[in-house]
């Protein structure tokens, strides 16, 4: 991991690129204000910490990275405005570590197709973004659909036979929830999988917890946003519900521990990365050090570590470019990355036919108020 930085430092010191010392301009949009600013700010901190760290360690080919983040307030029109500002005024070569599914999709006609600027490693996204692959669009997140399949397999492997999937009602959640059953069936074809749809942004989960109690499942898979998962955990705790509990990567976070407390104990979840407090792992330690130095006001968490990785992977692609760094060469470098291990998350591979780098997740479980890893990295097709 440190090798990349060292390598960059060397080439920057006296390599062939020494003539060009202008910064490499990258951009991103994220919600810095508005209802999801909580997440936006944490995510930005992670990527920002990486780029600052990289710059202080010599940058890429001796050139600093200038990463500009624009606020999109989680609004599509504002996101497209931000895209224009970044591309037309700042002249960024790529969008790296941005956030928002529908918001980012709104920029595709301009960014991907008209301006032909690559969008790399966005937080969010949908399976449809990458199948079929679209020019200039590269992702890092194992699809939520694949995660659901993995959850199904995991619960079935744990021996559960009557599994209830609780999910929010927008289509994005339904599509994901529907993939739990195939995962379960692939392990245990006789297990039953049931489904409970809840209005998005429900705040009071007491009636739902009670309904779950009356349905007597032996395990629950929650495809819910963090706030709603916490609400469910609290109410399930009050009702004395004892089931196996599974959730997906957005919910592996310190927030769940802080907000649900004891009620979250035992929760199993997928995570994008290794636990962000794992000081024993050198790559995570590097992240923690950088966060303490460059983003002292942000508590390191899964979100910030994931965006750290997103930035690190993009920077790795930049470092592999011999010659001019521009949108086209970045695309070429990204597509040449195979089985690259950032050290903090499952290895990623991109190619011209596969634009989604990540296909695996790390399983974790809440134990003693801490996320601890469960087994190795797994994917939807893994046997585990």
């Amino acid at each position: 991991m440190v090798a990349l930085v060292t390598a960059c430092g060397n080439s920057g010191g006296g390599g062939t690129q020494a003539t060009d010392t202008s910064p490499i301009k990258l951009g991103a949009w994220n919600a810095l204000t508005g209802p999801i600013a909580v997440h936006g700010l944490a995510q930005v901190a992670g990527a920002n910490a990486y780029f600052k760290y990289l710059n202080d360690h010599g940058g890429v080919h001796g050139r600093k990275i200038e990463w500009t983040v624009e606020d999109n307030a989680y609004d599509a029109t504002k996101t497209v405005t931000a895209a224009h500002k970044l591309i037309d005024q700042d002249g960024v070569a790529a969008i790296v570590a941005a956030n928002g599914t529908a918001q980012t999709a709104a920029t595709f006609p301009y960014v991907l197709q008209q301006a032909q600027i690559p969008i790399i490693n966005t937080y969010g996204g949908a399976a449809a973004w990458y199948s079929p692959p679209q020019a200039n669009l590269y992702g890092l997140q194992t699809t939520y659909e694949d995660q659901a399949t993995i959850l199904g397999k995991w619960a079935a492997k744990d021996g559960y036979k009557d599994i209830l999937v609780i999910h929010s009602d927008p289509a994005a959640f339904i599509n994901v929830a529907n993939q739990v059953a195939p995962g379960v069936k692939s392990v245990n074809s006789s297990a039953t999988v049931r489904d409970l749809s809840v209005k998005f942004n429900t705040t009071d989960y007491a009636p739902i917890a009670l309904q779950v109690k009356n349905m007597h499942p032996d395990a629950v898979v929650a495809i819910l946003a963090t706030g709603e998962l916490v609400s469910y955990l609290k109410q399930a705790g009050q009702q004395g519900l004892k089931t196996g509990l599974y959730s997906y990567a957005p919910n592996a976070s310190a927030d769940v521990i802080r907000l649900a407390g004891q009620d979250a104990e035992g929760l199993k979840s997928e995570a994008w990365t290794l636990p962000p407090d794992d000081n024993a792992n050198p790559a995570v330690k590097e992240f923690l050090g950088a966060m303490a130095k460059y983003e002292p006001n942000t508590q390191p968490d899964y979100e910030s570590l994931f965006m750290w990785a997103a930035a690190k992977i993009a920077a790795q692609a930049l470092s592999r470019i011999n010659g001019t760094i521009n949108s086209a060469s970045i695309v070429k470098a990204i597509e040449g990355m195979s089985n690259y291990d950032s050290g903090v998350m499952p290895p990623v591979s991109y190619s011209s036919s596969n634009h989604l780098g990540g296909t695996q997740v790390q399983r974790v479980q809440l134990s003693g108020g801490k996320w601890v890893t469960v087994g190795k990295y797994v994917g939807a097709n893994s046997n585990f």
Binding site: L32, T33, G34, E70, D71, Y74, D75, A76, T77, V80, T81, H84, K85, I87, D88, Q89, T101, A102, Q103, A105, A106, T107, F108, P109, Y110, Q114, A126, A128, P170, A171, A172
Partner: protein, 592 residues
């Protein structure tokens, strides 16, 4: 004539400025190339959003209806564009379809406007916004649900419509929309809507139909919002549901209020405010929002009318301009006697008619407000209906006006028409006009516009304007033609009220407390006026408790007490009636 020339010049001036701003912007983003693509995009956003602000602001300014549901209409435009773009429909056709659909929904909501107070109507539009949001969320096949849906790029003359040309299309469309809306707002539509907003009853009394007019206004405004939605779809190329959030809807209300409600320039400035301020403060995060909030509050406190009207008001004295209606032209505004009507000559009425009312009974929750009331007025007669407070005079006026329905068995004939079968606003056209105790003038319409509006009950096209001028001249109001009512003394206001009634070409004028609030000289003038009505064959129904004045004028008097006619006769007979003395015990003295 001078007045008219000034008006037209004023109107042209505004249109020219709007067109010039639009053309300058088009030049800047087009041939001159003064802006980069990011600036073009921001300009496009301002142009598209300005249409939305305009649709919200003009609806509020002209009709007094505040909508927080307009994003639903924008959504109709945007999703229609996305949906039909992939099916190869031509852009203008899509725009027309979307505008038509939005207008239909808006018209339907507008029909209910009269039922609710302004805040409750706002809640109704809020419900529309929420329903719209949930429909968008679930109607995946068209909207793509919460993931959004792409817009297939359009070709115009074989050329793919790219961002730079979309900026041109948006600015040009916005300019045309602004010019047209300005013309409509200052024209007949706008005047009718303002009249209804200012004085609903008085507007009905000159034959306007508030229900239909509100619905039309709402429908037109909705169509504009849908047009903006079409442009938005072109601009972004991808429709995401968060665009139509409540937060954004409320932002347009902020833009409308901050810019200046009902102001054309205000819609642009208010929109620029909500788009450009956050854009300029990019990167300041929370601070950016705080600055936006503080500036909004400062504008509300220090430019109470909004940016555009507020700046005009502040700048006007510097530029030596005077706002219309702040001071009446021609002489001091101190009293209403500066130009007495003098010897009034009115053209004879074309179709004198007789009013007969019989068996009118009205009860409110068991309480009888009117019982078996009858009354008749012959052609050219002056009849007085008197009675103490609470006798039922107002209820009777409301029955005549069509606002209160009497119980079965009542008959009311006016000439050839059965009044009870006619809606309130149709009665003006059958020749019945009305004046009000407090004048109830349209506060945002100059005197001439008010009277022209009334004259349209009878005349079409320029004939209405001619009739209005004749009426104003006859009532010696020509010097006040350009004034707003607020700038006029009360005596003159009441005269304008009479002019408004007269301009509808009535054969009967119902006058509610015409003498109240007038000084002695003004009362003398009114006497003369009423005599002139009689001479011209216009019947008059005086409803008043200024008994002495009324008795000296009337041909015949009806006395109402506790909802019943207790006496009827010539003024002489009434003076001697014991019943009347009893009913008026202690109140006869209160005459002037």
């Amino acid at each position: 004539m001078l007045q008219r020339a000034g008006r037209l010049a004023g109107g042209h001036w505004r249109v020219l400025v709007a067109a010039a701003v639009g053309a300058a912007t088009l030049l800047a983003i087009g041939p001159l190339g003064l802006t980069d693509r990011y600036q073009n995009f921001v300009i496009t956003t301002v142009a598209v959003f300005a249409i939305i602000t305009l649709s919200v602001s003009e609806l509020a300014g002209l009709s007094g209806i505040w909508s927080v549901g307009h994003m639903a209409f924008v959504a109709i435009g945007a999703y229609a564009t996305a949906y039909f773009s992939s099916r190869g429909l031509a852009l203008p056709l899509i725009a027309l379809l979307a505008m038509g659909a939005a207008a239909a929904v808006g018209f339907g909501i507008g029909l209910t406007a009269g039922r609710f107070e302004v805040l409750y109507l706002a809640i109704l539009t809020l419900a529309l916004a929420l329903v719209g949001g949930e429909v968008i969320g679930r109607w995946d096949s068209v909207t793509g649900g919460d993931q959004g849906t792409p817009v297939t790029p359009f070709r115009i003359f074989g050329q793919l419509l790219r961002l730079d040309s979309i900026a041109t299309v948006a600015v040009a469309t916005a300019t045309v929309v602004f010019v047209l809306v300005d013309l409509a707002a200052r024209g007949r539509w706008g005047r009718r809507w303002l009249a209804i907003k200012n004085q609903r009853l008085a507007a009905i009394s000159i034959g306007l139909n508030p229900t239909i007019e509100n619905a039309t206004a709402f429908g037109a405004s909705a169509a504009l919002a849908a047009l903006a939605g079409v442009l938005l779809a072109l601009q972004i190329g991808y429709i995401s549901p968060d665009t139509f959030s409540l937060t954004n809807a409320i932002n347009f209300v902020v833009a409308a209020v901050v810019g200046g409600v009902g102001s054309i320039a205000g819609a642009v400035l208010g929109t620029a405010f909500i788009v450009v301020v956050p854009e300029a403060a990019r990167g300041a995060q929370d601070l950016q929002v705080i600055v936006f909030g503080v500036v909004t509050i400062a504008i509300l406190l220090f430019l109470p009318e909004g940016i555009a009207p507020g700046l005009v008001r502040r700048a006007a004295p510097l530029l030596g301009l005077r706002r219309r209606g702040t001071a009446p032209r021609g002489g001091p505004a101190g009293n209403g006697r500066d130009q007495p009507p003098g010897d009034l000559e009115l053209p004879p009425v074309s179709r004198p008619s007789e009013l007969t009312v019989e068996s009118v009974t009205v009860s409110f929750g068991g309480l009888k407000a009117l019982e078996d009331v009858r009354l008749s007025i012959g052609p050219g007669q002056v009849v007085a209906l008197i009675g103490p407070n609470g006798a039922g005079k107002t209820t009777f006026l409301n029955v005549l006006g069509g606002f209160v329905r009497p119980q079965k068995g009542a008959r009311a004939r006016f000439g050839d028409t059965d009044l009870l079968r006619q809606g309130a606003q149709r009665r003006a056209r059958s020749g019945m006009a009305r004046t009000f105790q407090h004048a109830e003038l349209f506060s945002e319409l100059p005197v001439l516009d008010t009277v022209v509006l009334a004259a349209r009950a009878r005349h079409r096209g320029s004939a209405a304007r001619e009739a209005a001028r004749t009426t104003l001249e006859a009532l010696r109001l020509t010097d006040h033609a350009g004034s707003l009512p607020g700038a006029l003394p009360f005596g003159i206001q009441k005269r304008v009220d009479i002019a408004r009634a007269l301009a509808t070409g009535p054969s009967l004028i119902v006058m509610d407390e015409p003498f109240s609030g007038l000084d002695l000289a003004e009362q003398q003038q009114l006497n003369q006026l009423i005599r002139a009505f009689r001479k011209a064959g216009v019947s008059v129904l005086l409803v008043d408790h200024a008994v002495q004045q009324v008795l000296s004028l009337a041909d015949r008097v009806f006395v109402l007490d506790y909802g019943r006619i207790i006496a009827e006769g010539t003024p002489e007979e009434i003076r001697r009636s014991d019943a009347v003395k009893e009913a008026y015990f202690g109140s006869v003295a209160v005459t002037a």
